[in-house]
């Protein structure tokens, strides 16, 4: 009797487990790499109250995709009204350590949107008139010091990602990109 009970418990577990795990694979996502969709508007030097701007002026709806002979229609693929990218601002506090700077309200947005928390999320909003995903935002530099702007690593471990917010069952698109005027994922600068 005890063996039977044990047997049934063992057999019921995988049966119940199979209810939730059958064919749960996710297939509807595309990953690609297209460089220079973000631009850092760098200055030769910065003073307190200057603004460090960045934009997505190169982020057209139609992008040249590596190894393809036709442009990729990003909006038709995703039906996404915006793409997001994330980065953070850090300040050097001693010879080796950096601390995260809470941007708070020290941010100006000209196009698109942002949210700020421990890091900054930029939203490049789709403009159907210009057929561009548009964002231009800037961090107000309120304190002197050594700073660095750091983008979070992309899906392939390099540069950073622009990620769609695809509607319904349209394809999710992750674009690994780089920023003009930026080598890698980090921009170091000094505010006087």
């Amino acid at each position: 009797m005890k063996k039977s009970i044990l047997f049934y418990m063992l057999i019921l577990l995988p049966i119940l487990n199979s209810c939730s795990k059958e064919d749960e694979e996710f297939y509807n996502a595309v990953y690609t790499s297209i460089p220079n969709l973000v631009t850092l508007e760098v200055e030769s030097n910065y003073n307190v109250n200057d603004v460090l701007w960045l934009n997505t002026n190169n982020f057209s709806r139609y992008l040249n995709q590596p190894n393809q002979t036709t442009p990729l229609d990003v909006f038709k693929t995703t039906k996404s009204n915006y793409f997001v990218f994330t980065y953070r601002l850090e300040k050097k506090i001693n010879e080796v350590d950096w601390e995260n700077v809470s941007v708070g309200n020290n941010f100006v947005v000209e196009k698109g949107r942002i949210t700020t928390n421990l890091y900054i999320t930029g939203y490049a909003d789709f403009n159907s008139t210009t057929n561009q995903y548009e964002h231009r935002g800037g961090i107000k530099l309120t304190q002197p010091g050594q700073y660095r702007l750091v983008f979070f690593d992309g899906y392939n471990g390099s540069n950073f990602d622009l990620i769609s917010d695809s509607a319904n069952n349209f394809t999710f698109l992750t674009i690994n990109t780089s920023a003009v005027n930026l080598s890698g994922t980090t921009y170091n600068f000094t505010v006087n």
């Binding site: 049934y8 057999i11 036709t70 038709k76 069952n169 394809t171």
Partner: protein, 189 residues
């Protein structure tokens, strides 16, 4: 679910006293899988022919009737949607008793359904775009299962089984693995 488990355990008590007797149970059994219809929305019917005390052969038919699974497929939550499986099987009893025994099973499965895969298409303006395109698949799986079976009143058979099969010709279209689980309620004659 607790009630179901209790009923099974209670049934064991009824049949355990009769384990070693010889019975004339009949050679044929028709079965309906109550688990698959509830859990997966699949209609799963089986016929089993008993060749001896140890061996039996049979065939199962498995037909998807689940609206929720179809909706999940349409919304892109699942890549595949099985339409049906036809499953011939051979079972071998691991116990001496005719009315309560464990068994192992080898089965093959002819299965067909729908799947979606991403394709890069080109529109009339010569721009590329990605879209999940729906296609049909058919495949052939081989697999095994284990289970337990017992009879109530020598006519009402209940077998619980769990197993898995691997599709042999899948290259991304059909599911790599198919599950074979169920709780059959059958009539032996």
């Amino acid at each position: 679910m607790k009630k179901i488990i209790f009923l099974f355990l209670f049934s064991f008590c009824l049949v355990s006293a009769q384990d070693n007797q010889k019975f004339d149970l009949g050679k044929n059994e028709l079965k309906f899988d109550v688990f698959s219809i509830v859990a997966f929305g699949k209609v799963h019917l089986s016929y089993e022919r008993f060749l001896s005390d140890d061996f039996s052969v049979g065939v199962s038919g498995n037909f998807n009737q689940s609206k929720s699974r179809e909706e999940d497929f349409e919304l892109g939550k699942n890549r595949t949607l099985e339409d049906y499986q036809i499953i011939p099987f051979v079972r071998y009893s691991l116990s001496k008793s005719q009315i309560r025994y464990y068994f192992i099973e080898v089965f093959v499965s002819s299965n067909q359904g729908k799947y979606r895969e991403l394709e890069r298409l080109v529109d009339e303006n010569n721009n590329g775009y990605y879209e999940a395109v729906q296609k049909d698949y058919s495949d052939f799986a081989i697999g095994g299962a284990i289970g337990h079976k017992f009879y109530i009143k020598e006519k009402l058979g209940i077998d619980i089984f769990v197993g898995m099969g691997k599709n042999l010709f899948s290259s991304g279209e059909s599911p790599d693995y198919i599950s074979r689980v169920g709780i059959n309620v059958g009539y032996r004659f």
